[in-house]
Each structure stands twice: as C-alpha cells, then as structure tokens.
C-alpha cells in the first residue's frame, strides 16, 4: 500500500507553489478585479516550467503525465487563487483532445498547448458559462450533437459580470459549428472529461480550503482579545480543528479519485462524485469558518480574504454541485440491490 506521491510529484508541487507566488500574487488578482487584462506572462512561465504540457502526450511535446501527477499542482492553483484556466486546459481539454480529437485536431492543438501557445477552455453540459472563453484560443463545447472544438473566431462570447472578477466567465454562442469542428470520439472520452473536471475542481477547492485555513490560523494566533490570542479559545479551536479534519479527508478522497481515473478503475466515476461532493462541503465549511473567525476585518474589500472566499463559492458549484454529485452517488447506492 503506497498512498503517497513520489518525490518528483512533490518537487513539481514546490515548483508550482513558487511560480504561482511569484507570478500571481494577490496584487495581480486585484488588478484583474480592477479590470486589467489577464497578461500572458504567468501562462508563459507555467508553460516554460512544464506545467501546461503536463497532461499532453509525449508524442505531442508534453510530459505525458496523468491525474496523479497533476493533483498537487491543482491544489497549488487553489492556494494561489490562480486566475489562469489551468483546470480547463490541462486537466480537461488536453486529455480530451488526445482521446476524442481528430488526427488534425490533435496535430494542431496538442503541441500548441504543450508549448504554452494555446489556451483551451471547455463548456460541459452542466455549465452555463465557459471560463476564459473570450480569451481562449479554442473552446471545446458539449452540444446536442456531440463534442465541438471551436477555434476562437468561430464562436461569440460575452463577458458575464461575476463576483470573482479574477475568474472570468463568458456566455457563448456555439451555433457556428460545422463539420470541421466536430470531434471524432465522444462516449467514454466525454464521460472522462466530466470526471476529470469534477476531480480537478475538487483539487483546486482543497487548495483554496488549505489557504483559508492557513491564513485564518495565523490570524487567530496573532489577534488578541481579552488579553490573549483569540486562537486560545476553544470555540475558535474546535471550529478550525473540524475544518482541518474535513479538508484532510476531502484531500484523501480527491487523491483517491485521481488514482482511480489514472488507472482506469471501474470505481473512477463514483470516486469522482465523492471527491467533488466532499471537497465542496469541506471547502464551504472552511470558507464560512475563515470569514467568521476573521471578524470585521475579513468583511472588508481591503483584506485579501474575499479573493479566496469568492473563488471557493464559485467552484463549489462548478462542474457539478455537491447535490448533483450526491444524486449520482445515490443512484449508485440504490442500484446495488438489497444484499449489499
């Protein structure tokens, strides 16, 4: 039994952590909130470090990594509240093109993803809006007819005003589909895309929750009331201890789901449902605790806390809400028969 990451995977996590800290500090998120364009520098640095090509097959210039290799990088993206569509491009789109793209689509897009020259986003059925669709080079959309790979000028996109202005979402009109944009496979590849999106979102949520816990723990150690740190009060301690336990449990569930997906296990689907449902609940608990335990200062625009609170709230509902995933879990349990 070896339920742990390799040294290489931990090294990749450290690399991602350092890179996100340097290239995407909270001040950058604030620039985006103020309406600045998402400049390409961070994406370029991520590509140069090998993070964008992580899941692109080696034959197309990537690292050929799987869901396990990506798991800790996604947590770091959450810890940094990274604005880039890492989840969409790296966790979902690259494997989807590799599995369901026509040969032409693979030849055209996979090397460009790996080199950092293409940002790809996705619009799966449970989404109303597509992340970064206005800025992406390619949108993969699930439509009534199947999967379409739409280059940037073949669809229209309108920016939607949202709370989290550092994660831009767009309404898109995909009526411009043609024979040329249709992807070759669907079925299993599409199912995988949904599962990968759920597990990757769970990973990012776990990272957000970790950040919220870390920052709140530091705050309650420093903040003095009644002549002592508020973190010495049991009402505060117990809430943080519960949040910590829930988040660690969600992380284990998410890593298990990544493992099940990477190994094509039969239980990968249910494991993905479990991961997203658990990570969403744990993050929501940490999210509420973080704001409550920061008190008044956490309620200000000036404090950075809200940048993570809002990202967390957005991702709790993204790629299937907890309730939606629990519906699938219930279908699974109640189909098991009476002697289970």
């Amino acid at each position: 039994m070896d339920f742990d990451f390799t040294e290489e995977q931990y090294a990749l996590r450290d690399l991602a952590r350092d890179l996100f800290e340097k290239e995407s500090p909270p001040s950058r998120l604030r620039d985006l909130y103020a309406g600045a364009a998402r400049e390409a520098r961070c994406w370029r640095a991520m590509a140069d470090a090998g993070l964008i090509g992580l899941t692109v097959p080696e034959s197309y210039g990537g690292a050929g990594g799987n869901e396990i290799d990506l798991a800790l990088v996604l947590e770091e993206a959450g810890r940094a509240a990274l604005p880039e569509p890492l989840l969409e491009t790296v966790a979902v789109a690259a494997p989807l093109i590799a599995e369901a793209g026509t040969q032409e689509q693979k030849d055209e897009w996979l090397p460009r993803i790996a080199s950092g020259d293409a940002v790809v986003t996705v619009l799966l059925r449970e989404q109303r809006y597509a992340v970064e669709a206005g800025d992406a080079d390619l949108l993969i959309a699930e439509t009534e007819g199947g999967l379409e790979a739409l280059p940037s000028r073949s669809y229209e996109a309108w920016l939607i005003e949202t709370e989290d202005r550092a994660r831009r979402v767009y309404a898109v009109d995909v009526s411009g589909v043609s024979r040329a944009t249709r992807m070759s496979g669907a079925g299993a590849a599409l199912t995988n895309a949904h599962l990968r999106a759920a597990v990757a979102t769970a990973g990012v949520l776990n990272g957000i929750a970790r950040h919220l816990l870390e920052t709140t723990t530091s705050y309650v150690k420093a903040r003095q009331q009644f002549g002592r740190p508020v973190g010495s009060f049991q009402a505060v301690k117990h809430r943080l201890a519960d949040a910590h336990a829930a988040v660690e449990q969600a992380r284990a569930a998410t890593w298990y789901a990544a493992y099940a997906l990477a190994n094509g296990q039969e239980d990968a689907g249910i494991a993905a449902n479990i991961a997203k449902a658990q990570a969403g609940d744990a993050e929501a608990y940490a999210n509420a605790a973080a704001l409550q335990l920061h008190g008044g200062i956490g309620f200000t625009w000036e404090h950075d806390l809200h940048l993570w609170l809002k990202r967390g709230k957005a991702l709790e509902q993204a790629y299937g809400s907890g309730a939606a995933h629990r519906r699938r879990i219930a279908d699974h349990i109640f189909s098991l028969g009476t002697d289970a």
């Binding site: 390799t6 301690k237 449990q249 569930a253 219930a330």
Partner: protein, 386 residues
Amino acid sequence: MDLHFTAEEESFRSDARAWLKANTPDPRLPSAGTREGFEAHRAWERSLYDAGYAGMHWPAEYGGRGATVAMQAIFIEEYLLANGPERINVLGLNLMGPTLMAHGTEEQKKRWIRRILSAEDVWSQGFSEPDAGSDLAGLKTRAVREGEDFIVNGQKIWTSYGAFADWIFALVRTDPEAPRHAGITFIAIDMRSDGVEARPIVQLDGRAGFAEVFFTDVRVPADQVIGAVDDGWAVAMTTLGFERDAPSAPAGRYIQGALRLAQLARASGLDDDPLVRDRIAGFYAEASAYHAVTRRTLTRLERGEQLGADASMTKLLWSELGRRMYEYGRELLGPDEGTLDASSPLPDAQAWHSYYWFARAATIYAGTSEIQRNIVAERVLGLPKG
C-alpha cells in the same frame, strides 16, 4: 502511488476469509456481559490465537507472526465482513501488549505477552476515575511503597470488561507532592487480588458494559510497575497513542452502515425521497472519503511512522461520522423509532438502537471529541493553549 496489496497479502486475505467462513460461531455467542458469555468469547479468542490471527503483526519473538500492518488491516476488514463476535481482549491486544513491548522489562514481556495472545489473561484499563476523565492527570488512586510491594487504594471507573477481566493496567499516584503529570506510575494489577472489587455499571441501554473498580489496601508486587516509578504519564501517552490509531475503526463499518441506511430507506418506502437519498449519499461519500484517509494511515504505519496528533483527527472523523450516521438511522425508523420489538416490519430495528448507542459512546471513550479537537488545534495547527 500504488494502492494494491501484495500477492502475499491477497493470499492471506483469501485464507483469512475461508477460515472465518468456516469458524465464525453460528449461532452468535451469548452476550459477553455475563460470565458464561464472557467465557464463550474467551474460547473464541483462543481459537483465533491457535489459528494465528491474534496479534499477528507482533514480532515472532512475542508470539506474533511478524505479519505486515496491511495484513492486520486486511484481517480486521475480513472479520467485519464475516460479522465476527465482539473482541473482549482488545485492551490487551491493542494497548497492553504494544505498551509492554515498548516499556516492559524482558521478564514482564515473558510473563504477560503470550497470555494476552491466547486470551488466558484478559486485560482491562484503569485510567479514568470519577474526578479524572478528560483531565486524566487529576487522578487520585494512591500507591504507597511497602517493602517489595505497593499498597493501592482508590477507585477507577468506566472500566470496560472490568467485571470479568483477569488483569488491569492502571495509573496510580505514587508521589502526591510532585507536579500533576509527574508522580504517576503505570502498574499491572491482578484483578483477583484481595481488596479488588469490580461492580458492573448498567449502561443507559440496559446492557452491562463497563464497571467501577475499587481498590482497598491491594498489595501489588513492585515488579509489576511498567516503566519507571513516577514516570507512568509517559508510558500512558504511548498507550493512548495506540488507542487512538486507526486499526480500531475500519472504514468498511461505515460504508456498510451507509448501505444499511439505504436498505432501511427501502424498507420504509423512502427510497424515492430526494432528501433521504441526498443524506444517505452524503454518508456514503463521507465513509468512502474516510476509507481514503485509512489508506493514508496504513501507508504511514507501514513505513514505521507514528501518527502522533493525526490519530486524534482520525478518531474525530470516524467517531463523529458514526454518530451522525446512526442518528439518521433512528430518524429513518420513523414511527418505529422507539420499537425494540422483533416483529417490527423494519429490518433490525433492535440493531439500529445498539449501533446508535455504540456510536454515541465512541465520541466519549478514548478521549472525547472535544479533547481530540483541542489536540488537533494545538498540536497540528499550533494554536496556543487556553
């Protein structure tokens, strides 16, 4: 990352499964709350030992088979699936045995360890006192040196199997002048000694579970002290570490619990109710996530790591999950909630009540949830003591 068990471990699993299928008592043993039932359980534990399934991860020199931590976990899982009888010597096997290996003298190990495995000696635990529960260091039971012996006076409480156990490992105060955590000694006391009286305490569900144990001028040879005199707190902390570690709570118990909730919902005609389905799916998700946590734990234990304060997090997770899950079971019983009648149309109405009370006990014993949260907050998150 590789979650497969080795071929050897898988073959061990098939052997254990076959053995349990052939040997698990049917009909079930009488309750261990009576002397007759207790002895029947002792005989069953003896047969587990004879088959090589007791303390099997212990080193061979102590009568174990040097099995891996994974094999131990596999056996616990299979035992659960086989619906094996309650284990009456868990305190000996899980706590006293490992504590002896860590702190005992060669003579003590020779004297007790093998008899724990064979269930010739069933052990109970004498830590809690009426005024020393969560605040264990407040214990008052006194032991005074007299020649080669200690004379013990005082009272222990919430002692599981206290009415029938052969031995008790107890914390006693040997130096009342020392600071609270110093001056405590860890000592083994023969329950059949003169001056030991165990009175069973009837639990709120009417069952006999634990006991209160009174010591009146009990003479205990000084060579039954484990570790150094006045250094019992350190020994006890080792013991509590074993107590809180994961093997005590296999994830399968909670996954099974969620599936039983689904059966109950079906029997109550509630299986199409979206609210009911959402709740049960939530429990199943939590139990499965806890399963992933136990895989992390197993990985660490296999590497020889200690869980330390993380064991408190694990205990918090399984005990609180169990509590909420079985509370929900009672809710699903609906109009049959209070019934203990076997003629109830719902399956196992009685069993749901036992599960429920058992789960409620679990957030209290081995350190309450509140204490576990303090430990997680202070030792894992680094928050200051109150």
